[in-house]
Amino acid sequence: MAVASSAYKKVIEGDQQPKEVLVKIDRVTKKFDETIAVDDVSLTINKGEIFALLGGSGSGKSTLLRMLAGFERPTQGRIYLDGEDITDLPPYERPINMMFQSYALFPHMSVADNIAFGLKQDKMSRADIEARVEEMLKLVQMTQYAKRKPHQLSGGQRQRVALARSLAKSPKLLLLDEPMGALDKKLRSQMQLELVEIIERVGVTCVMVTHDQEEAMTMAQRIAIMHLGWIAQIGSPIDIYETPTSRLVCEFIGNVNLFDGQVVEDMEGHALIDSPDLDRNIFVGHGVSTSVQDKSITYAIRPEKLLVTTEQPSCEYNWSRGTVHDIAYLGGHSVFHVQLPSGKIVQSFVANAERRGARPTWDDQVFVWWEDDSGVALRS
């Protein structure tokens, strides 16, 4: 999982700037005939941040973005920009610009004319428009392509033009619709960082829609995970990966091993969970505040935090016997599929730190174990 960007940096260093709300989405619902695309969503977006709406198809993320742009009108609820109610404004009166999924560059206009299009609508003087277009071309390093038509550009160059066009009017809010959707995989990781760098240099607030979790985690400071029209969780990439609040979120982001079990001991400082899949109980370093009737709980642990060893762990909790069922060698790391006595197969990522080390192989008896704070107890 790639959490290696300015977002990560900011989380590590701690974002000390006071957070000022720019966009407020207040209980917005959108229905198409009888289907509910967006279901009573409320969220706030802070000034200067890159915010990602992440979800599968049909999750309502694109509809929410289109409502911000003004192409769809909410069935219920209001949208505020800088404290101003923009719910009923048409798209051409909103200080919001969008970079479209397939870029939607005007095919009959040159690169420079594409960038100038929005400025011309504002009745700017010719000299001002020229200066601004020049500035934008420089920003995205496309100055020498000013006279080309869109079909003469490569995918990455088109994306830069699209970005320049949507930034030319200095919008208060920039919307990105699947920004890497039209690029091949290799170009994506390069453009992701380039895009973030330009956006941060300009300092514009940005909302992006994506179905690619790696993209969201690389680019965004905060992510909202959407599912069936509602928001499952909002948080920084690290929050969402390390402390998912529901089964849905932790299954959606990355790989995870889930153990269903019953809470057998629930104290203020710790709790014990008995899972039929595991030989030993699970120790959780905090109370889980179960109800008296329902003691069932799910324990989630990421594969890279589940460790494989050939020696029996000495601790009392958090381990189980197993046999190596399968090994997938992926170069940087290997994925061990370990079958537990109950028949359940768990995954463990083992970094290939040595070129040739002695390690368990197929059908070996092994133990899986983990630290007390490696997993998350999930109530839902």
């Binding site: 742009a69 003004g70 192409f71 048409p90 798209p91 051409y92 009166e93 919001i96 610009n97 969008m98 479209f100 999924q101 397939s102 939607a104 560059l105 005007f106 095919p107 009959h108 299009f117 929005g118 609508q121 504002d122 066009r165 949507s166 009017k169």
Partner: protein, 303 residues
């Protein structure tokens, strides 16, 4: 081995056959008749069957070809022919402009309609062309005549006191040409407009352009090739139109198709009529080249 290969190379392959068919078609039904017309245009009228002289002569082991340019000179001397050419071009030009004005909104509306409705509308546009043009023009005579449907209607609702004369005027010819050729304007425009990417209009709107402005700045320029194709499909045949001006037009309607007919059948002067036809083709070659160029561009854009 080598011989059989060289033979098979010389044998016409399936590819040659596929390309050959349209070539033979064009040769037989376009080039050959045109050469005959060109030949006649250099001949002299004669009281004979066929009513013209041969341009070549084989006598005393000498082949002599006499190109008689007097037909062309005659055309340039009589103002009637120039007036007929200009009249035809003016008629075709105004009709084409009217077709654009009427056809563009129609094509636009069809292209924006529901997918199922589009087929219905297109069928409605094409259906009249399944009836012979002559019958449809005769129907217009019934509508436009002094005691026809249109005058009766206008009289009954009290817009006019006495029947107005529409039939046998240029107005009737305009109505006839626009009516007959409108489908040829709507269809290429529809084919162009229906391919337009809606996200371009959204992008324009997002950048602050009103819907009216987006139409002129995005939709119209992008449909340029459709407009050119439609205009040529209307303009080129309209210049040479004979049936409509003959049946709906009056004495003031001067079009080259009518003059051509009179030269062929009333005056039986085939050489002058042929010269008229050759000049008309020369006049039309310019728009035909324009048309081909825009078609080629359209194909390029698609690929």
């Amino acid at each position: 081995m080598n011989i059989s290969r060289s033979i098979s190379r010389r044998m016409p392959s399936g590819r040659h056959f596929v390309i050959g068919v349209p070539f033979i078609w064009l040769f037989l039904f376009f080039l050959l008749p045109f050469i005959i017309v060109l030949k006649i245009s250099f001949a002299e009228a004669d009281v004979a069957i066929p009513p013209y002289t041969e341009i070549y002569n084989w006598a005393e082991q000498q082949l002599s070809i006499v190109l008689n340019l007097s037909n062309y000179i005659f055309l340039s001397e009589d103002d009637l022919y120039l007036a007929a050419y200009l009249g035809s071009i003016k008629m075709a030009f105004i009709s084409t402009a009217l077709c654009v004005l009427i056809g563009y909104p129609m094509a636009y509306a069809i292209a924006r309609a529901d997918k199922e409705m589009q087929m219905v509308f297109l069928l409605l546009i094409m259906m009249p062309t399944w009836t012979a043009i002559l019958i449809r023009v005769y129907a217009w005579m019934g509508i436009l005549s002094s005691n026809g449907l249109l005058n009766s209607l206008l009289l009954s609702i009290g817009v006019i006191d006495s029947p107005i004369r529409i039939l046998n005027t240029n107005l009737a010819v305009y109505i006839g040409i626009v009516y007959s050729y409108l489908p040829f304007m709507v269809l290429p425009l529809y084919a162009n407009l229906v391919k337009h990417d809606q996200s371009l209009l959204e992008a324009a709107s997002d950048l602050g352009s009103s819907n009216f402005n987006s139409f002129w700045k995005i939709t119209v320029p992008l449909s340029k090739n459709g407009i050119i194709a439609g205009c040529m499909l209307v303009f080129i045949p309209a210049v040479g139109e004979f049936v409509i001006p003959e049946l709906l037009g009056g004495p003031e309607t001067l079009m080259i198709g009518k003059v051509l007919w009179q030269e062929f059948f009333n005056n039986r002067d085939w050489p002058v009529a042929s010269a008229l036809a050759v000049v008309m083709l020369a006049v039309l070659i310019i728009p035909i080249i324009l048309f081909n160029r825009s078609q080629a561009k359209e194909m390029e854009g698609r690929a």
